[in-house]
Symmetry: C2
């Protein structure tokens, strides 16, 4: 251990809940993506915000790096202990603290997962919309500025967090935001923390906006001859102001993966999966207008469903897309890309990417939250073949450059971690240096998740 | 002038566009609100971002304070030169640079006003929704995190700015955000700048989200026996998920002011003004459901209008509320309050405030963006009567404390400036110190709008 004294002091606070067991270290040194394992020196399992503050104070005293850990599903090596130190695993801070139906908000501990939260909300008629493919923790989702299939309608974590309790690098605790729906009272510390990937503080509590479960929901799926037809249908839908709750794209390769993994019977063609929320009449109208747009672009007849089981099966399939695609190539690891462009450039971005992948030696199904201009290629590599890994990273690199060239961003939702740091200078210029100055101001000893997001000090 | 050398160098860059004329200084030393005049030492009128950067560099060299100026309509003394220095007036940077209908976004210079922007957009079928009562500049609106009557549906400046070009305190220029609809690429510098009141940088360009003008719009007005009935109707509307585009409250005194100022014929009772956007069937349904809610709370029959002229007259009246109220008491100045609370506490907040005003010697009509939990009392004082001013400030003080006690914020939309600084410690605790650290990191010489928002260095 870098700092044995820190371990001793932490053990006094946490007892058995400070683990140095090999299995624990291994498990907290892995990522879902392609990065090599990089375990921490200890794992702490706090149960209260006070314990988190104590941990941070001790680590500050001993200059020991501290890395937050939610569900460990982030995809850019966010949680890897590249400079050693301890991981603070929030899985025991998993209580829904207070649901306030009248205000349509809820206060949770950071370890609550999105599925657990929606379970708890079920009786209230309310739900929390942000839904990354994985069953991530709310703390982790805030820290990566996560979004999902419903972001086109309900926004991302940026739009759905009212406030947070945060332990800072010096061990002091602040509360950001308030329960008011809006405020102009000073710098937006909530927004500064969202997407900061654990580099500015440890989140110990979140207050989230909730939404009413819509009276009626209608979901459906249809196939298109070509990618650009599907994408152009999306553009028309947005421009007509049709209020989609979800609009997801999958390409032919992904459809094939769904067929194999989930026993579906989809045409091997590009598809759109959509959902409308509203009144029964409203969603029927929306669906009818959408069907016209689809027909205009040569799409197949739309298969609609308003039965909950069928809808749930559709979205469960979408949420399992990553695993379905991985299963296309047994033993493969994935390099997951994540670019986002202005909607007018989406067809170009997807087509150039598909052509680039087709010319490469590796498979890479494409899918995405196209209503936001965001899509992923899941590049499947044999981890034992360095040439494949290189080819994937080169494709990923060209995608990031393409996104920037088209006025977009190198990451729509997965974040920077270690994987996207190399594009920060190109995307932000001097703004990246400014991010470094902010980090320096709040964490002068560079204790919080060092080596991620910001430039080296 | 504090720094004559700065004036000389600035004059070389700007020529006639550096003004030291008394009338100019006076005009840029006033606020719309009750603060004493506090003129700057010079006013600069740049025409390009490059000139703004030059101005900032020169002022940094000479340690001369720099205060941005949009339309000068902010209400908390934001633009007053309390530490001397120069005002940078953005009125000549008033071009709409590029409208991109396909992406539903627009890039503007900061001096464009919200009305001028919507004029330019007219032919596109798109509009920019954020609408403070005054015809403010987009730069000023971003800097105060402004909102308005449509925020309940379309969000505030926080939600409608995709990115900005900003000149920092050292004269360097950054671009924040991108034209992608979402990004997870590092700290949210756009959000950090929004609401920073010119203390972190000078905005030289903004890229804004646009929205489609709805196919159908329906607006209406109705009276309630008591304030709590009106507020409870709002709460029910939100909880039923009815998608209001606007829902505004005015009390009996404000209705009286409208009658006198705009020749209206409203009952002297609390009213709600609402609007729905959508398809023709959709808005008709929404209006019908809303009418039921109103009836449940003892409201009068709803007067609906879908004729544009009538609707425009309604909202013009609402936007002129401040002047209508001022006219209730000729020669009066206003102390404008601006609290925002969780919706469940709104009735309590409004009622306690009204009782408090009733027990005071001064009039104070109440109105607000109640769908967001935000309302204002416009406290009318004789500027020559110190006792009235004291009474108004004491009322305003109790309102801010009430908002914090009820889980809200001391300012929903007007911002901090100098007027709300005294509540920042109570609202944010150590978080206010953190705001000071961020300011120090980006503006170590405290050149940008010193004396506002953050603690004294
Ligand atoms: C199959 C699959 C599908 C996915 N789909 C999506 C998607 O659609 N959209 C999307 O946005 N992402 C998606 N992701 C990525 C991932 O789910 C998100 O990044 C998610 O937000 C991570 O949450 P987590 O709880 O797993 O966080 P972790 O991976 O545990 O941590 C993420 C970051 O936050 C920090 N952190 C975690 N908790 C705290 C805390 N309490 N305080 C301070 N720092 C903390 C960590 O240090 C790390 O930097 C997907 C991932 C997988 C595997
Ligand atoms: C009648 C009336 C009604 C109002 N109604 C509302 C309302 O409904 N909602 C609401 O939010 N507000 C309202 N306001 C307040 C005011 O309109 C807003 O605060 C508005 O955002 C101010 O914009 P402005 O262009 O006038 O900015 P200014 O007052 O000129 O400046 C505001 C702040 O921004 C800074 N600034 C301005 N431009 C720049 C720039 N380019 N770069 C850096 N800093 C800059 C200034 O230094 C100052 O700190 C109202 C005001 C009046 C008089």
């Amino acid at each position: 251990m870098l700092v044995p004294h820190a371990a001793r002091a932490l053990g006094q606070v946490l007892g058995e809940r400070l683990s140095r067991a090999k299995s624990d270290l291994e498990q907290h040194g892995r990522s879902e993506s392609h990065f090599p394992t990089c375990p921490p020196e200890a794992v702490a399992y706090p149960e209260t915000a006070e314990e988190v503050a104590r941990i941070m104070q001790i680590c500050a005293d001993h200059r020991c790096p501290v890395i937050g850990w939610g569900a460990g599903t982030s995809l850019e090596g966010h949680g890897l202990a590249v400079s050693g130190g301890i991981v603070v695993d929030f899985s025991r801070m998993n209580k829904v603290l207070e649901i306030r139906p009248a205000d349509m908000d809820v206060t949770v501990q950071p370890g609550v997962t999105r599925q657990a939260l929606n379970e708890e909300l079920r009786a209230t008629g309310l739900f929390f919309p942000v839904d990354p493919g994985a069953n991530a923790s709310l703390g982790g989702m805030a820290m990566t500025r996560a979004s999902g299939t419903t972001t086109v309608r309900y926004g991302s974590m940026r739009d759905n967090v009212l406030g947070m309790q945060v332990v800072l690098a010096d061990g002091r605790t602040i509360r950001t935001g308030s329960r008011a729906r809006k405020t102009a009272a000073g710098y937006d510390l909530t927004a500064l923390m969202i997407g900061s990937e654990g580099t500015l503080g440890l989140v110990t509590e979140l207050t989230l906006k909730l939404h009413g479960i819509p009276e009626a929901t209608s979901a459906g799926i249809c196939a298109f001859p070509r990618i650009e037809d599907a994408v152009n249908a999306v553009i028309d839908t947005i421009q007509m102001g049709l209020p989609m709750a979800r609009i997801e794209f999958v390409d032919a390769a992904t459809a094939r993966a769904f067929n194999a993994y989930a026993g579906m019977d989809m045409a091997e063609a590009p598809h759109l999966l959509v959902e409308f929320h509203g009144s029964p009449d409203g969603v029927a109208q929306d669906a009818a207008r959408f069907a016209e747009i689809v027909a205009d672009h040569g799409g197949s007849a739309f298969e609609w469903s308003s039965r909950p089981e069928e809808r749930n099966a559709l979205w469960a399939m979408r949420h399992n897309a990553y695993y379905a695609v991985l299963a296309l190539r047994p033993g493969a690891r994935a390099v997951v890309t994540d670019i986002c462009v202005p909607i007018s450039r989406l067809a170009t971005a997807v087509e150039e990417t598909q052509a680039d992948i087709a010319a490469s030696p590796i498979p890479g199904p494409i899918l995405g939250h196209v209503g936001d201009g965001n899509f992923h290629a899941i590049l499947l590599i044999d981890p034992d073949q360095p040439a494949e890994r290189d080819a994937a990273l080169a494709l990923s690199h060209r995608m990031a450059e393409r996104a920037l060239r088209l006025g977009g961003t190198c990451t729509g939702e997965h974040g920077v971690g270690i994987g996207k740091r190399r594009y920060m200078q190109a995307e932000h210029g001097h703004g990246w240096t400014i991010m470094g100055s902010l980090k320096q101001a709040l964490d002068p000893m560079n204790l919080l998740n060092p080596g991620k997001l910001v430039p080296d000090a």
